[in-house]
Symmetry: C2
Subunit: 150 residues, 2 copies
């Protein structure tokens, strides 16, 4: 907060702090992968499929990869008995990926690791946490459309 501190300067500083908090101090991606002995992309795929069955195409979009790699990932998860493929009733071209019971359990493990709030966040006093919740909701809500592509 220097004398000439502009709104944009403050925003930049806040953004840097938030990035450091999420990416440097409490990035759980490695931990999630290690817990299931698989790469993070596979764990991420399983996490989403565990929430609800989806098509290969939808999964490809979530993983932000291409179709062939999604095949590889789902092949691997299927070999581990964590997901199953079935044909979409009504369009036999489409495959639906569903988590097995074991898959849902593993997905829940990933979810728990990712969602576990960092200690400093738990240490916030209730008023600050409530304020933060409201502001984060604003940020995320306003971001429905992805960032304009570069």
């Amino acid at each position: 907060m220097t004398p000439q501190d502009s709104h944009a300067d403050t925003a930049a500083r806040v953004w840097q702090g938030m990035r450091a908090f999420v990416l440097e101090l409490y990035d759980r991606r490695k931990e999630a992968g290690d817990a299931l002995d698989m790469s993070f992309v596979r764990a991420k795929a399983l996490r989403y499929v565990g929430l609800e069955p989806m098509t290969m195409r939808q999964l490809t979009a979530i993983l932000a990869t291409d179709a062939p790699y999604t095949t590889v990932v789902v092949d691997d998860l299927e070999r581990r008995g964590l997901v199953e493929r079935s044909v979409h009733p009504g369009d036999r071209r489409v495959k639906i990926v569903t988590a097995t019971e074991a898959g849902k359990a593993a997905a829940a493990v990933v979810q728990a690791i990712m969602d576990r709030p960092p200690p400093p966040m738990l240490d916030l006093d209730p008023a600050d946490l409530a304020a933060l919740e409201r502001i984060i909701a604003t940020l995320v809500g306003e971001s429905a459309p992805q960032e304009p592509s570069t």
Copy 2:
């Protein structure tokens, strides 16, 4: 905010929202790499070396990789004329990596891309932004020690 909403539940929800904001909506790592036509790890290395010269060992710690890969990364940056190696005066085992002028310029590009605040953050009203700055400072400040290793 359900009737039985606990502090921990709220924190978990806020954490998820913050993660989504940083990692899903405004992850700039790919953009940074593309801008310099190099992998993100190289861009990250350059960004830090651009701030201040450091030893290979320090750079290895920042990149969270091992020494051999740091050698590969610095070799590449050196081949591009973006950094230079020099011997540490006082300990000839140690090499100091310094950004050239071109390297500093490229580092600034990366820095600018990473630090550019997302539009929704700029759209916050000043009071909310100030509150957010204070809370983020608390979170990051309290996080000096890394998360207890798994």
